[in-house]
């Protein structure tokens, strides 16, 4: 099977704007005695969409959750090595995890709108962060929904339950919810795997438009999707003891057309996986 490449052209992006936003350096992640990630090192550029691909269970999501410390919620999770956001170690004991997650938002595999109205879903983050003025709230809700390409579809149902929207709309609502707290990085954990192809394309278009303002990392099973939306791509695999390792990392075009590692080539050509 050959993958049709539709790599977005990133040549017009000014190189000086791109800085290393996130950095993982020789990271090992353990859940109890199980090692989930081994010696992962990569730099995530600020002005790009980075895709993490690889077979099921290779630690893609765990790597993603490293960057907003969602792994902390798993009992007995332990991190070795260094993870940095803008050059600051985020696993330092002085780091406020709540503040970190405000800067590094996350969208999940299954759309998870809160059981409240569309408006309240988007206003939830800003409210909890102390915004009280209703005019300001309305403004940020509209701005976030527009940014998430959902405004036109929901502007007349702001008081309806977020759960009443379609799956694709729910996922864009969840993206708007993240945008409303004005993060710098958006982590997306297989954001389209529960959606139909039309909704998937909408989310992909949205990701491309968001890439101008946000650093985006997406975990995906779908290699066409990685090829379509990402600028850089990371391919992960499991060691024999099931610990995930980073096999290859580079510009998406190169990874898909001219992989350096035999295992990457086997995976993207469908000989394995």
């Amino acid at each position: 099977m050959n993958i049709r490449l539709n790599v977005p052209d990133s040549s017009n992006k000014s190189a000086e704007k791109c800085v290393t936003k996130l950095k993982a350096d020789k990271v090992n992640l353990y859940y109890g005695s199980f090692q989930c990630l081994r010696n992962v090192t990569l730099d995530i550029p600020s002005c790009a969409i980075t895709a993490i691909i690889g077979p099921s269970g290779c630690g893609k999501s765990s790597l993603l959750r490293l960057f907003n410390r969602m792994n902390d919620l798993i009992p007995d999770a332990r991190v070795e090595g260094n993870v940095e956001l803008d050059g600051i170690s985020i696993y330092d004991s002085k780091i406020d995890v709540v503040e970190l997650r405000k800067r590094v938002g996350m969208v999940f595999q299954k759309p998870n709108p809160f059981p409240m109205s569309v408006f309240e879903n988007v206003a939830f983050g800003p409210k909890r962060h102390g915004m009280k003025n209703s005019g300001e709230l309305e403004e940020i809700v509209e701005k976030s929904l527009r940014h998430a390409a959902l405004w036109d579809e929901v502007k007349d149902k702001m008081n309806q339950s977020g759960l009443a929207l379609s799956g694709g709309q729910q996922q864009r609502l969840c993206i708007a919810r993240v945008l409303a707290v004005e993060p710098e990085v958006i982590l997306m954990d297989e954001p389209c795997s529960a959606l139909d192809p039309v909704a998937t394309l909408k989310i992909e278009d949205l990701m491309r438009s968001l890439a101008e303002d946000y650093t985006i990392i997406i975990v995906t099973h779908n290699m066409q999707q990685a090829a379509r939306v990402s600028d850089t791509a990371a391919f992960m695999m499991m060691d024999p003891d099931r610990a995930g390792t980073l096999v290859e990392y580079g510009p998406t075009a190169q990874l898909f057309t001219n992989p350096k590692d035999k295992r990457t080539e086997d995976y993207i050509t469908g000989r394995f996986g």
Binding site: N68, M70, L73, P75, V98, E99, L100, R101, K102, R103, G105, M106, F108, K110, N112, P113, F114, P115, F124, G125, R128, H129, C174, R177, V178, A180, V181, P183
Partner: protein, 285 residues
């Protein structure tokens, strides 16, 4: 086509249905029988005067107003003490406590708390609330005693209701930099509230029917007036029923059953209230 096998399967199917239905009937019939029997025997005693008057002639005449009021006070008191403590403990145990031997021991203790005989709670209330805390034989001491007993149920149902809130909601909230407590307060609790309320209502309806614990911490058989403060003694339906049924000679049977009927209505109406809350919230989802 082997009709014999077909038939034997059909016979065993029929037999199973009959036994399952029979078992259900055996559980339902006594409940219905008790309710109907109580209505038939005690219905005659029910009148407006029976509800709104004070008893006279050792309960043989007059009404049972102080017992009804006392029971409502007790339910209110139990709710006031058991609900907040139970819910807060439930939140702590589900959201904050680490899963270690101490938490497991506490959970085990709570489950066992529900199995402690109610008279033991009564003695506990007598020595702690009545004597050590100097609350005396009082509504306050009785409410605290019943609350201690109801706590097990309130905590258990609160925990279940909180655990039933999908983890995805919590993750979605934490992932946008909302604190854990804000997540609990604004996402988890509103979702768990119907379940928590249902559990609390059931717990106080059970407390309303308790006789043994209040027997030793302040229930009185006949009082000339309603309790004026939480430190007063009080009358209560179950204790009144016990006394008129067991200790008053020549008590008219209709009056005894009348008291039983009122108690039954109070307890069942709260059970129905709990069921209504449950059904309403299920429809909303």
């Amino acid at each position: 086509m082997t009709t014999a096998i077909f038939n034997s399967r059909r016979v065993s199917q029929r037999t199973a249905f009959i036994f399952l239905g029979l078992a259900t009937a055996i559980t339902v019939v006594p409940v219905l029988f008790i309710i109907i029997y109580t209505i038939v025997k005690g219905g005659g005693a029910i009148s407006w005067d029976f509800i709104v008057q004070f008893p006279s002639q050792a309960g043989k005449a007059g009404g049972i107003l102080p017992a009804i009021i006392g029971t409502f006070y007790l339910m209110l008191g139990t709710l006031v003490f058991a609900l907040p403590i139970g819910v807060l403990a439930g939140i702590y145990l589900t959201e904050y406590a680490r899963d270690n031997w101490l938490t497991r021991l506490i959970n085990l203790a709570i489950i066992n708390l529900a199995g402690v005989p109610s008279i033991v709670f009564g003695l506990f209330g007598l020595s702690v609330f009545v004597m050590a805390f100097h609350f005396g034989l009082s509504l306050l001491a009785a409410s605290l005693t019943l609350a201690a007993q109801a706590l097990a149920m309130v905590i258990t149902t609160s925990r279940e209701a909180i655990l039933a809130v999908p983890k995805e909601y919590r993750a979605g909230s934490l992932a946008i930099g909302v604190t854990k407590w804000q997540t609990v307060r604004h996402i988890v609790l509103p979702q768990a509230m119907p379940g928590i309320i249902t559990g609390a209502v059931l717990a106080i309806s059970r407390a309303a029917g308790e006789t043994a614990p209040i027997l030793v911490v302040g229930a009185a058989f006949l009082l000339p007036k309603l309790p004026q403060s939480p430190l007063d003694q009080f009358m209560a339906l179950p204790y009144h029923l016990y006394t008129v049924a067991a200790h008053v000679p020549n008590m008219p049977k209709t009056t005894i059953w009348g008291v039983a009927l009122v108690l039954l209505v109070v307890v069942l109406s709260f059970d129905i209230l709990a069921a209504v809350i449950r059904i309403k919230t299920r429809q909303r989802k």
